[in-house]
């Protein structure tokens, strides 16, 4: 099972309770405090959605917002955050931190979202076909997927940076390749399950051919599962992109990125902590919100058995 898949399953449990779906009769009865837990979970979900809406809108509308240019020098270096002057302070060169965080969000989100979309389409299609037809193609796909998984994400991205150089295109492609194994496995598992369902048998007995069954019967059932994992993978990719930019091998300057901002500020933690904490908090809140929303969405659509779920 893919890393993201397993680790997420662990972090969110009690899906039956959380979803408000009728509890499985064999499931354990709700422990004390479940009601309070559910309420605080719902509040957390809404806070997460709100943050994501704010950060996505800010990233999309960055050019229209009354922001200073992210490269404009205001004159005062490493100014503390405050309502007079810059809301979130200035960086070491005196550039507006607010503007840099917003444009950093744009870089981070655009790169990660592009990569997740490519990964979902490529991995989804390959996994769909492999799971439906099985056989030799399936073996080849499984071996390829296991091979990609053998490269630790950061090592893989750095190897690409070493050969092709650090630019936006190679970054997106590298990140996309990293998500392909997860999407392939998800699509493969779901596609092979749906291939044995009654409605597929019914379609086949009516004389529908395989490619049409694949497109009209199986694909529509697999797509929601793939979509439901996007948020979680987006969180993983934002961390990967941040790590790479932190090392100076990700989003190339002068475009601001959260990882790059944290790297620039970390030597000045004692006298100007906002240089690290402003982009750090933005990144943490985004990843955390994506995880919260992702857990919720995934537990709605996921039919693959997880490690949780009573004694079944």
């Amino acid at each position: 099972m893919a890393v993201a898949q397993v680790s997420r399953a662990a972090v969110s449990d009690d899906q039956v309770v959380a979803d408000g779906v009728a509890p499985d009769p064999s499931a354990p009865t709700s422990p004390p405090g479940a009601g309070r837990r559910r309420r605080s979970r719902r509040l957390g979900l809404w806070l997460a959605v709100t943050w994501l809406v704010v950060i996505v809108l800010a990233a999309l509308l960055a050019d229209l917002l009354p922001l200073k240019s992210y490269s404009e020098l205001t004159g005062v270096a490493a100014q503390r955050p405050g309502f007079r002057g810059e809301l979130l302070g200035t960086d070491l060169l005196g550039r507006s931190m607010l503007s840099r965080v917003v444009y950093g969000a744009r870089a981070s989100l655009a790169v990660s979202l592009g990569a997740v979309l490519i990964g979902a389409v490529v991995g989804g299609l390959v996994g769909l076909v492999a799971g439906f037809y099985r056989g030799g193609f399936d073996h080849v796909v499984t071996t390829l997927v296991n091979s990609v998984l053998a490269f630790p994400p950061l090592v893989f991205l750095m190897a690409i940076a070493a050969t092709v150089g650090a630019n936006l295109v190679s970054l997106v492609i590298g990140l996309a390749v990293l998500t392909i194994p997860t999407f392939t496995r998800l699509a493969r598992a779901n596609s092979s399950t749906f291939a044995e369902r009654e409605f597929v048998l019914a379609a086949r007995s009516m004389g529908v051919r395989n490619p049409r069954i694949l497109l009209r019967e199986v694909l529509p059932n697999v797509v929601p599962v793939l979509l439901s994992y996007m948020s979680l993978l987006l969180a993983v990719l934002i961390i990967a992109e941040g790590s790479l930019s932190f090392l100076g091998l990700g989003v190339p300057p002068p475009t601001p990125s959260w990882g790059g901002m944290i790297a620039a500020g970390r030597q000045h933690l004692a006298d100007a902590p906002h240089l690290v904490f402003v982009p750090g908090v933005a990144m943490f809140l985004t990843v955390f919100s994506l995880n919260v929303v992702g857990d919720r969405v995934r537990s709605h659509f996921d039919i693959t058995p997880t490690t949780t779920g009573g004694t079944a």
Partner: protein, 305 residues
């Protein structure tokens, strides 16, 4: 997992890295001023005058003997450089895994035993926050509070284990902790989820009914069947530990594989990068093979099935 095809594919992908360099790799290594004789000599040294298959057979044969060639910058022996840096990264990864286990095992067991209690809820909140914190951010915050403010621990540098074990631990503990925290969070929730299920099993009820003490039930009866997901994921965690180790070594200026990797990437030293990628990927495959064996030991159903 079919190990042999995966290893062959992984090594092949590593070998062809050099072909991905845009333009003529030899030209971009030697620069524009190189004479045609130098270019030819370098091409022969890298084996680029052979066919891909011939080059691969040569490269793999050498790699299996620990010979990864000489680095493009500084003419270092790649195998030697890796084995010299390996102990630091290995120690960090092992220490991080130990810390993560020390944190995850007791807290996971207790959270499952008192399911829905305050400890369970608190650790759930903390662990979902920890999973969202990349190691470079955790490490930065640690440096701020523990090293700069309190000056308890050194911020940079490394003392080899053989030289002074105590000093070595003082230098290793902060980076290892930064690496361990996200893993501990995942492992703890995983163990807790599996153990909640195990504790509902009839044989656990029987043990309780016989009057066995709770610690005995949880540790001696329920831990082993609940540890299967944990062991599987711990093997997969290796990739993240290595990746996190690159970042953490960079921050704490530790002389491990991670810093070697960063230096080589910045200098476009493809041969050194190839050696590093190969060693890490093979280690990942082999360790996950060992994990499969460990799971078979823990779960008799896997052994028979």
């Amino acid at each position: 997992m079919q190990v042999l095809p995966v290893l062959l594919l992984v090594s092949f992908a590593t070998m062809v890295l050099i072909d991905l360099v845009p333009g003529d790799p030899v030209r971009s290594i030697l620069g524009e001023s190189a004479t045609p004789e130098q270019v030819l000599a370098k091409r022969a040294q890298l084996g680029l005058d052979q066919s891909v298959v011939g080059r691969y057979v040569d490269w793999l044969g050498n790699a299996l003997h620990g010979d990864f060639g000489t680095s493009l910058q500084g003419n270092q022996d790649v195998g030697g450089a890796i084995s010299q840096r390996l102990p630091v990264t290995l120690e960090l990864a092992v220490l991080a895994a130990l810390i993560a286990l020390l944190l995850a095992l007791p807290s996971g067991m207790y959270a499952a035993y008192r399911r829905g209690g305050w400890f369970d809820r608190a650790t759930e909140a903390v662990s979902s926050a920890l999973v969202s914190l990349p190691p470079f951010l955790t490490a930065t915050i640690f440096v701020f509070f523990l090293a700069v403010n309190a000056q308890v621990l050194p911020v940079t540098g490394w003392v080899p284990l053989s030289q002074d074990p105590g000093e070595n631990l003082r230098h290793a503990i902060l980076p290892a902790l930064a690496l361990a925290l996200p893993e501990a969070a995942v492992w703890m929730r995983l163990l807790r989820a599996d153990m909640v299920a195990t504790l509902q099993e009839p044989y656990v009820l029987a043990a309780v009914a016989k009057g066995m003490r709770p610690t005995n039930v949880v540790v001696r009866q329920a831990l082993r069947p609940s540890a299967i997901s944990l062991v599987t994921v711990a093997g997969l965690s290796l990739g993240r530990l290595v990746g996190g180790s690159i970042v953490v070594e960079f921050m704490f200026a530790l002389p491990g594989l991670g810093n070697l990797m960063i230096e080589s990437v910045i200098r476009h030293d493809i041969v050194m990068v190839q050696g590093l990628v190969f060693v890490v990927a093979v280690a990942y495959v082999v360790i996950n093979l060992a994990v499969d064996v460990a799971v078979a030991y823990l779960d008799p159903r896997v052994r028979q099935g």
